[in-house]
Symmetry: C2
Subunit: 319 residues, 2 copies
């Protein structure tokens, strides 16, 4: 018997998901022939960037990875990164942005080899992501393409919550799900909408300019998502039909109107502010208030993938 009437919503903290994911990472790590070594490059004076760098190092060491932090002058960084690309003992590279704080930072992202890019920001990796190309070495499909950390963290959370239906075939596990993503930044919102649509969801990507639908079309006919503008749509149209709502709007003032959210929806906040009102717990089946702790484990997972992709680990010749 179901005794009494309890709160309908399960609040899931990022720490619990991070722990489960870390355990998977440890299993993969144990199968490697050596300890992966991540190198961080810090070329700004921002104390927050240094704190994040220190936190990366601590998390690496706690989880069985090596980490070396390089303090460099920003004018030297591009050369340092080129050098890192050729040093075999460097498995992964992370750069603490902003460096120049301008478009010039993009050329730094392009400098990191895609074979060492734990953040998944290399042009080829980004392109693979949008094109729904999941491997670096077709047709062998042994070397996995690396996905950007924050969008991938959201995916891993949805897998953990069983929103991905593992009964369905890989690549179609969101078929039948409608997902609203509020934020369409190039860093998180747009890649996330594309990833979800590539996995079969119908995605409503919302920002101040309007709503775009990302989907693979009727019956998942297309191999990758395409987008179309939903003229006249807003949250009023998206939220009542969405099984999942993922929000990452910066700023303290933004709040999603709870009354528009579908009963039993899964709600995930990836903003540093709380985009959902506390009363979301009266409506949602699952609420994840923050995702940061998952993102850092995803970074370690990407580092493991980079090492697994090496010919000597995958057991396959050629790179």
């Amino acid at each position: 018997m179901v005794n009494g009437v309890s709160h309908p919503c399960k609040v899931v903290l990022a720490a619990s998901i991070a722990k489960a994911l870390a355990s998977e990472v440890h299993n993969d790590l144990a199968k490697l022939s050596r300890k992966p070594h991540l190198h961080g490059y810090l070329a700004n004076k921002d104390p927050a960037a240094r704190m994040y760098a220190d936190w990366t190092g601590k998390t690496c060491r706690e989880n069985g990875f090596d980490f070396t932090l390089h303090d460099v002058e920003r004018e030297d960084l591009e050369d340092e990164l080129r050098s890192a690309n050729h040093r075999d003992e460097i498995d992964g590279v992370i750069v603490y942005y902003p460096v120049f704080g301008s478009e010039r930072d993009r050329t730094l992202q392009w400098t990191v080899s895609m074979y060492k890019d734990v953040e998944g920001l290399s042009p080829q990796l980004i392109s693979n992501m949008y094109q729904n190309i999941r491997f670096l070495d077709p047709p062998f499909n042994v070397q996995k393409s690396i996905l950007p950390c924050t969008p991938l963290a959201a995916i891993k959370i949805l897998e953990h919550l069983h929103v991905y239906n593992s009964f369905l075939d890989y690549g179609k596990r969101l078929f039948g799900r409608r997902i609203t993503v509020i934020n369409r930044s190039e860093v998180v919102g747009r890649p996330l909408a594309a990833l979800l649509a590539n996995d079969g969801a119908e995605v409503y990507s919302v920002d101040v300019t309007g709503v775009q639908q990302f989907s693979r079309g009727s019956g998942l006919r297309r191999q990758k998502h395409e987008t179309k503008d939903l003229e006249g749509w807003g949250l009023e149209q998206c939220l009542p039909i969405s099984d999942v709502v993922i929000s990452g709007v910066p700023g303290e003032t933004y709040k999603i109107p709870t009354n528009l959210i579908r009963e039993g929806a899964v709600c995930i906040n990836f903003s540093s502010e709380k985009n959902f009102d506390p009363d979301v717990k009266e409506r949602a089946s699952i609420y994840v208030p923050a995702i940061g702790k998952v993102t850092i484990v995803v970074l370690l997972r990407n580092l493991v993938r980079l090492v697994q992709n090496k010919p000597e680990e995958s057991g396959v010749g050629g790179a």
Copy 2:
């Protein structure tokens, strides 16, 4: 990489689900101190009933259960059932209906002890089901109440397909799901709608008289479902918003309009006829064309539950 564009729908045959469920039943069976013994009572001359009785026996023996078939005169059946209720070596009883083919058959259903009723048709069991009372012995909650076989088969199929989200707490695993059930018979459609709503779904129960909503209300506030008429609703309103469509309409002519079904819906047919057009495979994420083979395994599962409920097996005193 997802190569080529394949069929979007996974067609799942009852045999594969029955096999997985049988494996669970075998695990439970191995923990019992003895082999459960089902007794069947056949009191009509219908060859179809005899075939079904023979099939029950075969399935029992193949799965490690004992089965004895009793051929009895229908006027003797009530006495036979009363006698069976008191014989310790009889673990479960199944009666092959129709016997009188009239309301009188109901008194036969009421005669079988609820502690031996593998079909879950005893008034107390039916009442427990509608009231969302899951155990026979509150507050100890060791003895499970038995659910009717065909509705339970549909539930087990939805669990197998991961429509039940096992990440959510037991009793809320359908929260956020909208399910259309076409058929509101007392034998299958209405109990099924009630079971789904009791597990957290919003259910649209459809028959020729109209549409009823079964749900536990906003935020699953109620402990059991309540129903309300949805005036003016039809399939046009239900299907486009339903994640799951379950249909059991008798007759060859009935077909569900595929164009109304939501992209990526899970579609299950429990009619002996095909209620879904073949083109449902162009729209659904999962299609289960028939469920009969699951129902018979559910009957064995109920038999195991009956034996587990006995004090000597559960290790708990009192019955």
